[in-house]
């Protein structure tokens, strides 16, 4: 069998690396958007929505 530059195995490795890269990129984007959503929904005391009234009662 002649030595080929591109073996079938290299294609699989490339596929695996691309998939991992995409997954990591998607994860970064997800955490970023989740942060935006969570931070922008906090009130001025930094409490998540729905928590404000109970916090005030406690104080």
């Amino acid at each position: 069998m002649a030595i080929q530059v591109e073996h079938e195995l290299h294609r699989r490795r490339l596929g695996r690396n691309m998939a991992l890269g995409l997954a990591l990129g998607a994860f970064v984007l997800l955490v970023f958007v989740l942060t935006i959503v969570k931070v922008s929904r906090q009130d001025e005391h930094g409490n998540p929505p729905g928590m404000a009234s109970t916090m005030e009662q406690g104080q």
């Binding site: 195995l9 695996r16 997800l30 958007v33 989740l34 959503v37 929904r41």
Partner: protein
Amino acid sequence: MSDFSAIDTGKEAGAGDFVQLLKPRVMSLVVFTAFVGLLVAPVPVHPFVAFTAILFIALGGGASGALNMWYDADIDRIMRRTQNRPVPAGRISEGEALGFGLALSLLSCLMLGLAANWFAGAFLAFTIFFYVVIYTMWLKRSTPQNIVIGGAAGAFPPMIGWAVATGGVSLESVLMFALIFMWTPPHFWALALFMKDDYSKAGVPMLTVTHGRPATRKHILVYTLALAPFALALGFTSIGGPVYLAISVALNLWFIKGAVGIFRRDETQAEADKYKAEKAFFAFSLAYLFLHFGALLIEKSLAAFGMGGW
């Protein structure tokens, strides 16, 4: 030398093999039921938080699938249906499957805890523990009721979805659990009747092997009858309503009719028409579950127009 043999085997895993490790078909049920559980809960969830939560519930379910394939590789190698899974086929090593499953379990529980709440995250962790340790490692190989126990793991997702929204457990979420829990045994035993897997060779005590096929037919009928009250009871809770109840009554009558049919048949009859009734019952069982949860969604969307519910 080792380099040459590695190339010769041509068995190196592609990305698809790792996806297969996550049991994508089981995942679709997890996604759908968790989604319904989250949506019908009385507390609204931000759409992106809901999306993230469902994603990591699905990933946690997939991680438990990978851990299951790691532990069950010895069984999977023996049974024809599972021989081509990535681990028994040699494309992914057992160690890789274990690492992949553990890492994803940790990630999904942490992310669910951060995105939603820690009760939901802990619940997901418990579900993975239950499926991998209680079911896969312990009871699957030691009791013919293994399907019943395994069903519990598959029944937790709507409860997790509900916990994402409410941060707790309630009657509604327990009944959604009960619906899937009681549905699983008739669903799988019908499959076991016509799939005729080589479970006995693999040392897995399947009801069809340990107690025989007539006993399995009886079990299907008993569980189907016991399932109906739970399915109907869900209709009287805050997430049910007349539409759900009407759909549920029709589905349960049809399901019981099918189970009675299976109970009355024997193997000769089943062989004669190539397990037609068993296959039809199995196919209908999928629609049964899908339509029940679909009906809950209908009730929820009707509520937006001031209808639905009680």
